[in-house]
């Protein structure tokens, strides 16, 4: 855990529960950010963007590179964090747009299997590209940047967790405003609902798809940085398992549904932390997969259901 805080005394079950909840919400927020990228891309072109996890990992790497560089040059921590966040989000947005242009756009008329395989190929390509350029080993974040925390009734909340949750909430609010209040957001929803019709009212769907990829990638990059800060390091293959979990979150919330992805992410994070805390930490990754399978089997439209469709994009 970041910050090096230790409990002052042995915990009561209630305190343990609350601690797990706090940790779960932190993790869940990060999953929600990644899940949004999946859900938005799926909503608009019905593609599981396998490479999304790698975009998230690239964001984590950009974060560690920029933060270490800025921090080494004596910038204050908040400036480092802010600048790294913005630059990494921008970089990943460009990366995702390039990815879409190269690997998905030429396949717009092909079978779904082809696009899916192309996505898978790009995922492997980017993951190994990260390995080649950044090395096989973990890269450490300068976690000494933000240290400490506070105790509330025996529950430790680190400042880093506060920053993560705060940023996540900020990004989610901004995203909601973007999607529901702006012209481009409305055009995104229109394109997701009917591509031919949106062309008939003069919307350039290619541009909207690019924007969607960029937004999803920006959120994933922010999530990558936060995870790096939370766990203290990044690794080239860090995108794979969280990618599947975030996709599970998107499915859990009903794919294509923005509010659903947020809720789903939160739920998956909390469930994972509780499963690790109460059942078995070795098998914690299994639970996310089991949830994914169970949701798809028993309620394929997700917890938000098909009737609550006003939040689908």
């Amino acid at each position: 855990m970041a910050g090096g805080l230790r409990p002052q005394k042995a915990r009561t079950p209630v305190e343990f529960f609350l601690q797990q909840l706090v940790n779960g919400v932190t993790l869940g927020g990060v999953y929600a950010l990644v899940a949004l990228g999946y859900t938005m891309v799926y909503g608009i072109i019905q593609l599981i963007n396998f490479a999304h996890g790698e975009i998230y990992a690239s964001g984590g790497y950009m974060g560690v590179i920029l933060i270490s560089w800025l921090f080494a040059h004596g910038f204050p921590p908040m400036v480092c964090l802010g600048a790294a966040l913005i630059l990494a989000m921008g970089y990943c947005a460009l990366l995702a747009m390039a990815l879409e242009k190269v690997a998905y756009k030429p396949l717009r008329q092909s079978s779904r299997l082809s696009v899916l395989l192309s996505a898978l190929g790009m995922s492997i390509f980017l993951q190994n590209g990260l390995m080649l350029t950044q090395g096989v080993y973990d890269r450490a974040y300068p976690t000494e940047m933000v240290q400490g925390g506070f105790h509330v009734h025996g529950v430790i909340v680190s400042y880093m967790q506060c920053i993560i949750v705060g940023l996540t909430v900020l990004l989610l609010v901004l995203l909601n405003l973007l999607v529901y209040r702006t012209r481009i957001g409305k055009a995104m929803r229109a394109t997701a609902q009917d591509k031919t019709m949106s062309a008939l009212v003069g919307i350039n769907s290619s541009r909207i798809i690019s924007v969607t990829f960029a937004i999803g990638a920006g959120l994933a990059a922010a999530a990558g940085i936060m995870v790096g800060l939370y766990y203290g390091s990044v690794r080239y293959d860090m995108g794979f398992v969280p990618g599947i979990k975030a996709f599970s979150a998107a499915v859990l919330g009903g794919i294509g549904n923005i509010t659903g992805a947020m809720l789903g992410g939160l739920l998956i994070g909390v469930i994972e932390v509780f499963a690790a805390g109460y059942i078995s930490s070795e098998y914690k990754d299994v639970f996310a997969f089991i949830i994914l399978i169970a949701v798809l089997y028993f309620m394929p439209t997700g917890i938000m259901g098909e009737n609550v469709d006003d939040t689908r994009i």
Binding site: S111, L116, G121, I124, N128, L132, F289, I293
Partner: protein, 403 residues
């Protein structure tokens, strides 16, 4: 022509500039400072390679290689014509004869590579049933390989069950595993299926990794027996272990030939046609009286059987198994063989396995770049040649490819 050419080069320039911008942050920003040299070195390689390819492409289009390609095309036509006249049994027997005599002309290292190729051919053909024939994208296929390998490993180490007996047992276990994985996914749409099978594959690996009391976790299982056989030693029939590479090569060759024949027969059977019907149009297939759920389950089970067979052999050949051999990357590798070769095509899958195993062996210096290139090639294949190197012959087209 000149205008178009300049436009092409402009695009190339823009793409390369963009690529450099993308590359530089990951390679050039260090805590010590900014550095251009590394990313520039990589960028210049890619830029030069791409420029050469582009120039070749343009020259080819302009007909500069006419003196080369025209005779080559003519020769190709002659060769194809001649090949069509050679009866197929002759081609097959020549290939088989070459495969059988292979170990007598080659060394240990070549045997080793050939064994890997054959294992992957079996895996590729098994996955081909699921992906190529039935059209169900399975990203956790390697789990069946793992089930087969661990079945034999455990039975061999704890109960001393022989390899030959274990082949059918492992195949059954794998088939059951296939049904277990297949059942909940039957009603799912294609792309959900992909992620769910991926999840199942990971579950199997995580369980193998953590169930210490049975699988010995990440340390794996040691001391698995090789296949045994009775053979004349002088005058007496004695039990021996077939543990040198030559003998193992023949075992896996036999398994591979069995697989090819089985998959070929399956392709041309009623069930094979049902698979294709489900792939092309599930609703129509159902209306024609195909039991689509049963057929899908059968596809999983049959695919798993070959995975299990290959796994059993793998455990016997390595005499050691650990969860590390059953990661997602292996699934992706088998899948890229199927895709590269051509989905649904037996010679295609064989070609894919040969290419993907032998090429990296030839370029051992580039070991690290293997998966990097795979990923890129997989995406590019989908864009430029979605049917693979050796496409399957079929009647009619896929519904979504039409128009």
């Amino acid at each position: 022509m000149t205008i178009r050419a300049s436009k092409l080069w402009l695009r190339y320039g823009l793409a390369m500039a963009w690529f450099f911008v993308l590359l530089w942050p990951l390679l050039g920003i260090k805590p010590e400072g900014l550095e251009f040299a590394v990313s520039f070195a990589i960028w210049i390689k890619v830029a030069v390679a791409a420029a050469i390819l582009l120039a070749l492409y343009q020259l080819n289009k302009a007909g500069a290689f006419g003196f080369l390609t025209r005779p080559a095309a003519a020769a190709g036509r002659v060769a194809v014509g001649a090949a069509a006249r050679v009866p197929r049994w002759l081609v097959l027997s020549v290939v088989l004869a070459a495969a059988v005599s292979f170990p007598f002309f080659t060394e240990r290292y070549a045997h080793d590579v050939a064994i890997s190729v054959l294992v992957y051919i079996i895996l590729g053909l098994g996955l081909n049933i699921v992906v190529g024939l039935a059209g169900l994208l399975d990203l956790g296929y390697i789990a069946f390989f793992g089930v087969g390998a661990y079945t034999y490993a455990l039975l061999s180490v704890h109960f001393g069950v022989s390899f030959w007996l274990c082949l059918p047992i492992s195949a059954c276990f794998a088939a059951v595993a296939g049904c277990i994985i297949g059942y909940p996914t039957l009603r799912m749409r294609g792309d959900y299926l992909a992620i769910v099978t991926l999840g199942f594959g990971e579950i199997v690996r995580i369980v193998l990794n953590n169930w210490m009391s049975v699988t010995n976790g990440p340390n794996g299982i040691l001391g698995i027996k090789s296949p045994g056989a009775y053979w004349w030693q002088g005058d007496t029939l004695e039990h021996i272990w077939l543990n040198n590479l030559e003998q193992l090569y023949f075992i896996i060759l036999a398994l591979a030939v069995f697989t090819v024949i089985a998959v070929y027969r399956l392709n041309h059977s009623r069930i094979g046609r049902a698979f294709e019907a489900v792939r092309e149009d599930q609703t129509a297939a159902e209306l024609m009286g195909v039991n689509t759920l049963g057929i899908k389950l059968l596809a999983y089970a049959l695919g798993a059987v070959f995975g299990g067979l290959a796994g059993t052999f793998f455990a016997a050949r390595m005499q050691f198994v650990s969860p590390e051999s059953f990661t997602f990357i292996e699934s992706a590798m088998v899948l890229s063989m199927v895709v590269l070769g051509g989905m649904g095509s037996i010679p295609g899958v064989i070609l894919g396995a040969v290419v993907l195993i032998v090429l990296p062996e030839l370029f051992r210096g580039f070991q690290l770049y293997r998966m990097f290139v795979f990923g890129g090639v997989m995406a590019m294949m989908m864009v430029f040649r979605p049917k693979g190197l050796w496409p399957a012959k079929r009647l009619g087209q896929r519904s979504e490819e039409r128009g």
